[in-house]
Symmetry: D3
Subunit: 218 residues, 6 copies
């Protein structure tokens, strides 16, 4: 097994910070409603293909065994399998994601506005945590090893960090076909257009120059 672990570690890669996973969607009203990603009609979710034209490929996706490229600032990479990648997920309220972490790589603090996430570690060791809402803002965290499972409740800020010298890999399910990802740093300091630096300086209780410095990174 040690060899197996080592071999797999070479697969581990780079960062992105956003991913699409598993969320609790509206109840389906037919066996399935395969997303017609070519439709110009826009509804809550995605319009469906004619069900008689649905094929096995509409319900499948390939490539989740391929490590993501973690050569980026945070050293992690998320590969999503949501309704965009797997159209058969439309209306079904779930998605999957693979996350790769370089040694000490970080999936930085973020929330999913539309999903709870359940994660399991395939390789490596991860420090994971989430923070409860106001007023407690309690950090609940733990180091996970291969085979451990952890849950991040819907909407709460959470993160994972590789705390080992080898690559790490995780798989997660999310309770939405399109959970959404809000990476705190990118959203608050890297929005387009920017949030005014004096507003952020007041929010974070620091000088505007520090805000400018952080905003410059995103």
């Amino acid at each position: 097994m040690a060899n197996g672990v080592i071999m797999l570690c070479f697969l581990v890669l780079t960062f992105s910070g956003h991913y699409m996973v598993v969320a609790s969607d509206p109840k389906p009203l037919q066996d399935f409603c395969v997303a017609d990603l070519t439709s110009s009609a826009r509804v809550n979710g995605v319009p469906c293909k004619d069900p008689s034209l649905a094929q096995a490929n509409d319900f499948s996706f390939s490539g989740l065994h391929i490590s993501g490229n973690t050569s980026n600032a945070v050293g992690s990479k998320v590969t999503p399998v949501g309704v965009t990648q797997l159209p058969g997920l439309n209306t079904l309220g779930i998605s999957l994601v693979r996350i790769d972490y370089a040694p000490w790589g970080l999936n930085p603090p973020h929330t999913h506005p539309r999903a709870t996430e359940i994660i399991t570690v395939l390789e490596g060791s991860l420090l994971v945590g989430f923070v409860t809402s106001n007023p407690d803002n309690r950090l609940i965290s733990k180091i996970l090893y291969k085979g451990d499972v952890f849950v991040f409740p819907i909407g709460l800020v959470h993160f994972q960090q590789n705390v080992g010298n080898v690559n790490a890999v995780a798989i997660a399910g999310l309770s939405s076909q399109n959970p959404g990802v809000i990476t705190i740093a990118n959203t608050v300091f890297g929005s387009n257009p920017s949030i005014a630096n004096d507003l952020l300086a007041k929010a974070f209780q620091v000088d505007k120059t520090i805000i400018d410095q952080i905003q410059g990174m995103f």
Copy 2:
């Protein structure tokens, strides 16, 4: 009317950063289920009182005309009316909140994990905004004046800032009996225990000393 505005402005006060508002909850299975806040039983939501003992007071709350105390670091104060304050809201999926803003006071960037928020300005002028999820992180913002209404979709980061020299007041509805509030600064930099400074330094792409400085404020 100008006098009226000025009088009301004296009501405007101080900060907190958390509030409980209106969210979309499980469908009720009876006319009402008044929260029995004294019960030791714990369920999703709150156990109910015997409905034959329900009184008009169980469905009411007093004091939303009283300005919150904004003498705090951010110059705003939220007064919630959720299931804790108004037990008749239990299972009904909605709540209200009053927000007071000192001149230039800020209700800092935050999310509600369980609610969309609809806000209306009673007095003053507010810069409001929300940021879309990854990868766009688009800031959608606008200055609101008395009588304007704005919506912050569920789970997205949003804020309001008083952009006038007088106090401002707003009322908001939220789609949960207990929407939850995640103030970004408090959650990320002021959790208990703290998130490690090197993790946050990597997430925000700054030196640990800056993280230490921000963490010292919360």
Copy 3:
């Protein structure tokens, strides 16, 4: 403050009996789904605009500070802010409403088939009440003053009456983007076409002549 109150009282106005408020809708499957009110496609709710074309104005509405005209038979007026007025509310399950009451003005008994309502009094004093379902038909009522909050559970018959000699104003949140309003008098005695007078005579246990008289008013 007394001046402030007096000034605001001049804002209070007239009737309509229907309003659109806040209700618990299907879970959103994307950050937002701004209603495309020009679309001819018809679905549950409203089709969406291309999200890349969404603007801040799609999430806002102006004019809730303007008193409604209460010069009508019941002396009240509801100003709704639902998905029709504020397209950004689509799929988000909430709306707001302003209600103006002339002295002794009445928002007559009605139900919202798709929403719970939470109301707060901005000015004046209101007798509010709701009636439980069969077999108890219990009236739960209370006089509300400025700053009081009250909840009307989804689907139950409720009303508000100004019990003061000055105008009154209230703001309410409702748990639907389109809660619907069923004013009992208009629905039962003023439908188009009319419900047969002998049917209503039997239902209300009165002579048909009385039914004819009431129907003549609507």
Copy 4:
């Protein structure tokens, strides 16, 4: 068959005006959650029995073939089979009801705050109708004969009247374990305590003496 019809007509009976039918409840989290009607605990819906003690009788009810007694003011009688009568319905979001109508008997205008109703006529002929919400208040009605099916959308005011000289019988499904019934006449004119007669006089645009007369009947 004519004989069969005639025989069944003798089964038709008397009135009540309230019934419990089929509604769309929270999603079940286990195979079933049989209502423990003896529990003093109170939650949304009803606490469950130990599932290992559930018996076939918990999922059944007897007597829906027995005609209700229609010897009452409106000449109809509803026999409900909701969670109170059939505890296995708890959390499952549906119920049934039998309605008997004397000749010209009326199930008077009412709403179900928590359910859509689908009705089928077993014997006789019924005028049925529902009224849309404001501002249209459109009456949609039809005479139903044996074997006809009709739907009353959730929350809308609706009624059925026997328009034949023989008894009539119907069965209906409702989308809640406890749909609730709000009979307009009983709720508005027969609440306990009463709604003030001057308030109702204004709502229905008639003299208080007429309100007093109607209130005297309930």
Copy 5:
């Protein structure tokens, strides 16, 4: 009454094994959304007609008093009234079904993936049952007589068999506009294309020749 029963028994007929009934659907966002069955647009559920064009006939269906033809292999016939037959049911989460059983006729083991079912016996006597999920696979069954009601929880395998020498008739409500029917025998042994016989032989622990024999019947 005996005559009545006998007369009705002649109505009882033949089989199909699939039916569409009552299920818990997404919350409606307007009074109704009559299915536009001619639309080529495809969404979760069905697009709606212009509500101003809705007619009473859109909310009705005729013919549920007509016995189904039970001259088939299993001796039963289901007549569905779902959104396909009654377009006004769209978004309302409920449907009805009539089931006819020849003497000893069987509505064979099946599931509804999207609905709980509540059944009542109009004529005859039925052995009904459902089986709980793994690991108990407990059979809960009972013989029902005229006027008895029984509930089959969502997703569980269930069946009904006429255990009398005369025809039987039942009416059932289901908590979906389109509950779906999965007849076990047809699905497992009669799919198109077939499931491989060696796979089924392993699943059912029998020789492939027996699988071939069963597959030959469907």
Copy 6:
């Protein structure tokens, strides 16, 4: 990588036929509601622990890297991580499962009454398929290889079979905290007590002796 694959293949094991996965549950009304598995109170889902006593361990589970024992009749084994194994999942609508398959091992045809399932292959190659509901009973199937992802819509009959000479491993997410598993063979032929053999003979169109033979295996 080949070594890695080979090493992991030794992990693959035995059967069970039931597993608990990810389903779309009622919306949470607080940050989390950790299941109090020691409580004697019974509600839809599970009562909660005092949230102030929640610990990181309540949100975690260990051992999903351990291969299940596939030494059984069908050559597969499911290891569930649902609310029973990971109490923090309560009210959050998702779960995970690991499935091990011996060479040619089968996870036999089954349904999840309360969840859609999304599966990914970690090692080996799997023939997977699901069958649509009546009347089409269309088999949609595909061979999956390492890194492939597939979705089984809620309530539909589905299966996986290892089509290689080495062990296979998969991870799946399911849209419920307690999705339930209905293995067709066990439920129909192995219920307790048994379904009568003549009933099953009619349902499957075979002699009772064949039913007896199959029932003898379960």
